[in-house]
Symmetry: C2
Subunit: 122 residues, 2 copies
């Protein structure tokens, strides 16, 4: 049912946690399942995301997509990070079952919310 | 949104894992969110559940309810374990938001499936 990459990122999630004094923080909820996620970004003076962490109450698919999403946005500019869509994350994970696609939206929306939070502060 | 007990069992889940050569194993899926759970029971010759472990791909609410459910069935007879309903588990956790009640069904159903598996083998 789940690809090897999904199981790997579910069982060994990367970048779980919080960033104190993060440049941007985004909290989003998933209307479909009631799960929540918070994403923390650390953005340097050149607009490069040099750290990214997340916490979630969501399911294994939410954990795996967020883990992969944090890996994908690290080292990127804000413009590049905006192109890390849930589709790109799912492709990097070799797919998700259709019933779990809504879970992958949490990561994309949380990154956007955190970038928006950063933009508002600057 | 979540009680202290829910957060405790989510962040420090009890009895996660597998039991090799378990007396009963139950695997169930949640139609609403597509999540899966497997429950392992070890039942001695007197019909007492002396060990119980679980694995799930489910969300924080599924993890917390399963963790509490395994604590509640340990040391119980099969008859007593059948009374560990999702309602009893939610009460022991000081409640769950309505949108997450379906997640608590996974634990109840997985315990029932594992007891059924045990009954079929004996
Ligand atoms: S079911 Fe809620 S995030 Fe996957």
């Amino acid at each position: 049912m789940y690809s090897e990459k999904v199981m790997d990122h579910f069982q060994n999630p990367r970048n779980v946690g919080e960033i104190e004094g993060a440049s941007g923080v985004g909290t989003v909820g998933n209307a479909k399942c009631g799960d929540i996620m918070r994403m923390y970004l650390d953005i340097d003076e050149n607009g490069i995301i040099h750290d990214c962490k997340f916490k979630t109450f969501g399911c294994g698919a939410a954990v795996a997509t967020s883990s992969m999403a944090t890996e994908l946005v690290k080292g990127k500019t804000i413009q590049e990070a905006l192109q890390v869509t849930n589709k790109a994350v799912m492709e990097a994970l070799d797919g998700l079952p259709p019933v779990k696609v809504h879970c992958s939206l949490l990561a994309e929306e949380a990154i956007h919310a955190a970038l928006w939070d950063y933009a508002e502060k600057h």
